[in-house]
């Protein structure tokens, strides 16, 4: 489960969000959001997953149905089935870039491109199939296919045979690489532009007047969502494998705290202090966008490390490979709801479903490869990977409130519990979290979703492809609706029994 929670967000998104929202100023709402939004929702998703698993459901359509006995519930749950599949496709494509960059670091392919501009052009060539200025876009496709093959192989082998084994090997390697890089970054000598300590000071010294800006709070709440993998439907699928006697309160909190350790202690002490040391505070703040800081700026940093070039190559390999591990464990988790749904509702063998998923992912990823420069991926990332998460989480809270009521859910959550959660969190889960979610959803709808829907500021040559991107997403959702409809018609007795 920690492998699911720890992902690219810890090392790529967190530093950028912190940098863009005032460093220390960001950290205060970040921790408040963790307590009022992240941890309660984590327990809610674990509880819903374990409860649904008891009735043979590992995905949101079935879980929503058994929690809220309403004919519409299963269709609301479709967002928790189509969403992870949509995210899985582009997320795995991006994880493939990390594998590619770890390899290119070892070979020293980009060494010599020591300015931010040169490195940015190199990344664009890597991402764009039509730009062969560095070495051609096919390199990214090859690494995507390798990554996808590993994901398919892992999910085909099942929970204990594949997913747990991957986490068992991957997580210690991730911790080791992150610790080595953290020590290296913190012991870097100061340059004319800055020092690692100045980077730390930036992250931890709040600018108090900025604390009243709503954007900082919303950015912090958003980060908590992404980092804990909330609203994806993956936590529920993993939790559905637990028995009624298994604890979820202690394990859920342990997962959240492990993720926070990785994000705050490791993620917060690598990218920003390194970037501040070599670019200064002003330079670092000008580097916006997760890929610009995590890939471009870090590649320049590795080339600037003291010592022989081999040190920089190894550091680069470790950084991108730890991103690859963090990403691939999340990628495997994102594949799980689709696998679980087709297995449970249609009785397909796991290996066959895994292969089918691989083929579907290749077909859908072709759009990203061909239309990356036109913003195809950006559309999916925004609607499924940003707005969709908050929407799914809001639906989860609504369904639990309508179907079970918070009192009954609280009891359900404490079955087999090794940790009695303080009653304070009952109040938070019942009132504060829904309010927080409503504000987040409402604010994002007005300030981002509506302008994005109208394509404000989108270059005219991108508009057609962005509409195509939305149509493909809608087609995936329509397919998920049809599959849910068919599954319910196929085994009406199973669902009637589940509702009894």
């Amino acid at each position: 489960m920690a492998g699911n929670a720890v992902g690219l967000g810890n090392f790529l998104r967190f530093p950028v969000q912190a940098a863009e929202n005032g460093g220390g100023t960001f950290m205060i709402p970040y921790f408040i959001s963790l307590v009022l939004l992240g941890i309660p929702l984590m327990w809610l998703e674990w509880g819903m997953g374990r409860y649904g698993g008891r009735f043979g459901h590992g995905t949101l359509p079935g879980m929503f149905q058994v929690v809220w006995r309403h004919p519409a519930a299963k269709y609301l749950g479709v967002v928790g089935l189509a969403g992870p599949l949509i995210i899985f496709v582009y997320y795995t494509y991006v994880v493939g870039w990390m594998l590619g960059f770890s390899f290119l670091s070892l070979t020293g392919d980009y060494f010599g491109l020591t300015s931010f501009e040169e490195m940015g052009a190199y990344l664009r060539s890597f991402q764009d199939i039509y730009d062969s200025s560095a070495h051609g876009g096919w390199v990214a496709v090859v690494f995507f296919l390798l990554t996808l093959a590993l994901v398919v192989y892992t999910v085909a082998r099942g929970i204990s045979g594949g997913i747990e084994k991957m986490a068992l090997i991957g997580m210690p390697v991730l911790f080791l690489f992150a610790l080595v890089l953290m020590v290296r970054v913190l012991t870097l000598p100061a340059t004319e532009l800055g020092s690692p300590v100045q980077g730390l000071n930036f992250i931890w010294q709040p600018e108090w007047r900025k604390l009243w800006e709503a954007e900082v709070w919303l950015a912090a709440a958003g980060q908590i969502f992404f980092t804990l993998s909330l609203g994806l439907g993956t936590i529920q699928t993993y939790a559905s494998y637990l028995s009624e006697r298994d604890d979820i309160t202690l394990t859920g909190l342990a997962t959240a705290s492990t993720n926070e350790f990785v994000e705050v202690v490791l993620g917060g002490t690598i990218a920003i202090p390194a970037a501040v040391t070599f670019f200064g505070i002003v330079g670092m703040q000008m580097v916006t966008g997760a890929f610009d800081l995590g890939i471009v700026a870090m590649a320049v940093v590795f080339q600037s490390l003291p010592g022989p070039e081999l040190v920089g190559r190894l550091a680069g390999f470790m950084w991108y490979f730890l991103l690859f591990i963090a990403g691939i464990t999340s990628s495997v988790a994102l594949a799980s709801p689709t696998i679980a749904f087709l297995q449970e509702e249609f009785g397909f063998p796991r290996r066959r479903v895994a292969r089918l998923l691989g083929l579907v992912a290749i077909g859908l990823a072709a759009f990203h490869v061909l239309f990356y420069r036109y913003g195809f991926l950006d559309e999916w990332d925004y609607w499924a990977g940003t707005f969709g998460l908050v929407l799914v989480a809001t639906l989860e809270v609504v369904v639990v409130r309508l179907g079970m009521g918070m009192e009954r859910f609280w009891e359900e959550m404490h079955r087999g519990a090794e940790l009695r959660v303080p009653r304070f969190f009952f109040f938070v889960l019942k009132w504060v979290t829904p309010l927080f979610l409503s504000i987040l959803l409402g604010w994002w709808t007005v300030t981002e979703a509506w302008p994005n829907l109208r394509m404000d500021g989108v270059a005219p040559q991108q508009v057609a492809v962005r509409w195509l991107s939305r149509l493909v997403m809608l087609a995936v959702i329509a397919l998920a609706v049809a599959l849910v409809h068919r599954a319910w018609r196929r085994h009406p007795e199973r669902y009637a029994e589940a509702q009894a």
Partner: protein, 64 residues
């Protein structure tokens, strides 16, 4: 551009104030935050390892 440049300069002045070091608040905030998440994670994993192992908990998929 000018207000933006001024804001950036202010920001530089803010974070560079204790040249080469952390402000007392930043040091405290960092220590408490990092210490809390580290200790919490360690304590919770200690609790998980100490909890009695249950039989038949091998993940086999949701109950049918």
């Amino acid at each position: 551009m000018m207000p933006m440049a001024a804001a950036l300069l202010q920001e530089v002045a803010r974070v560079s104030a204790p040249a080469g070091g952390l402000t007392p608040f930043a040091a405290l905030f960092m220590t408490v935050s990092m210490g809390s998440v580290t200790l919490l994670a360690a304590y919770l994993f200690y609790r998980i390892l100490r909890a009695p192992m249950r039989q038949g908990d091998e993940a086999q998929g949701p109950a049918k």
